[in-house]
Point group: C2
Chain length 260, copies 2
């Protein structure tokens, strides 16, 4: 069976409190696709964060002294820097235009994953606020978000599915961003291939495969440049057995990391 | 159109001098798949390296003083360390069991991508050598390898295809290996999304998408744990315009890298 990734078109703009599971099922009705057990839904972080009300109006943020100092070093808005600090365990690198952090969720990313674009501008204006002041934080707990969406989909459809939430991350050493898992439920994050012999009976020395990140990259390719356009992808043919997984599987302990 | 990745089964063991294009076309004949313009073939590094005769018998390697020193620090075979040094621009990190280098091709990886497993053991024994002494180097120039296979496929089928060669790399910060592009021809490595407005007319601040690495990760998922089993994947529905690409697009210049 091939691995197939179907973009789910016509997902409307998401607002705080929206029921993503229902919205996804409605969008799927516009396609020729029907869900099957073992399918995986990959969701862009943005729609999950928006449904969870993670929008913040910078006009309401008072930057601390540390945020003002970070703003000077990074040439970023002090109020944004305040949010970056609140959302991070540790600031790892700062250059003008770039702040690399360990997010409070444990992964390394730029600007604590806080996104300035794609806030619903017309609504911001209608509310008397400046669209450019709104930013979007990552979900509070993406593993939990994925679990809740998965449970709701199970309730609505009866199907056992996997759900993964992805964001676009830069990497050390290589140019360009790639889709990266920030939370999941119902599929493994990492598969342990230790001890499986190869064709000639040698034990494979390569041990762990980051299958969730591989799938996140694949789904990101299908979501395309404007993640708002197709922020959800249906995956069929995931080649590993499904089980409950967690972002934590993907996080290398700091003391084992040679590049921190 | 979905993005679909089909494993190409029944690829035989590859030997030096083999014509990979012909072997791939023969393997495709065993499937219901026929090539179309715009398809991309993703190949595991191993089969390309084997066809190019990149096998080395460690019994023929005399380790230098530097290699013996590296062997002490890394707890690896001094002869393997000699090859790692020859294949690398720079040694970045060394711990017992691990050597992270900048490969002479410019990317960062473990052990210069030299693989100990999956050498054709019966043939090694028949030739009076020890199977465990054979290792496999990466292709001399994977972009060129991809171009040559692409040209040969064009000649044999008339189809305009993309060809990518991938390996499994570890990453900073995150557990597990992921499929990663080490050479390509006929598809972009990086897509520039700068200046494309989002739904609300904001300019996207995220600039470059590493589409080749995203596709490499996707293909790796399909190749599975035992890369020797399905070392080639046919990709249909790649969502970006094809053009000539190069590994160089993916390599972050050292002076711009905050994690070296």
């Amino acid at each position: 069976m091939p691995l197939s990734l179907f973009p789910i078109p016509k997902i409307p703009l998401i607002r705080p409190g929206d029921d993503l599971a229902t919205i996804l099922l409605e969008a799927l009705e516009n396609t020729h696709l029907s869900l099957e057990d073992g399918d995986i839904l990959v969701l862009a972080q943005k729609i999950v964060s928006k449904a969870e009300g993670r929008q913040v109006n910078l006009a309401e943020i008072n930057p601390s002294e540390a945020a003002i100092e970070l703003a000077t070093r990074s040439a970023k808005d002090p109020r944004l820097c305040e949010l970056i600090l609140r959302e991070s365990n540790e600031i790892l690198r700062v250059r003008p235009g770039t702040v690399i952090v360990e997010h409070r969720l444990g992964f390394v990313c730029a600007s604590a994953g806080i996104d300035h674009s794609n806030v619903n501008a017309p609504e911001a204006q209608a509310a008397g606020t400046r669209p450019e002041d709104w930013v979007l934080l990552l979900p509070e707990d993406p593993d939990r978000s994925a679990l809740e969406i998965r449970r709701r989909l199970k309730l609505l459809t009866g199907h056992c599915l996997g759900v993964m939430i992805i964001d676009s991350h830069g990497r050390a050493w290589r140019n360009g961003i790639v889709g990266t898992c920030i939370g999941l439920s119902g599929l493994p994050a990492v598969v342990d291939a230790r001890g499986k012999p190869d064709l000639f009976g040698y034990r494979l020395r390569i041990t762990f495969i980051a299958v969730a990140d591989e799938l996140a990259a694949a789904a990101s390719l299908v979501m395309g440049e404007a993640a708002e356009g197709t922020p959800a992808v249906l995956v069929r043919g995931f080649p590993y057995p499904l089980r409950e997984g967690s972002l934590k599987e993907l996080l290398r302990p700091k003391e084992q990391d040679m590049f921190r």
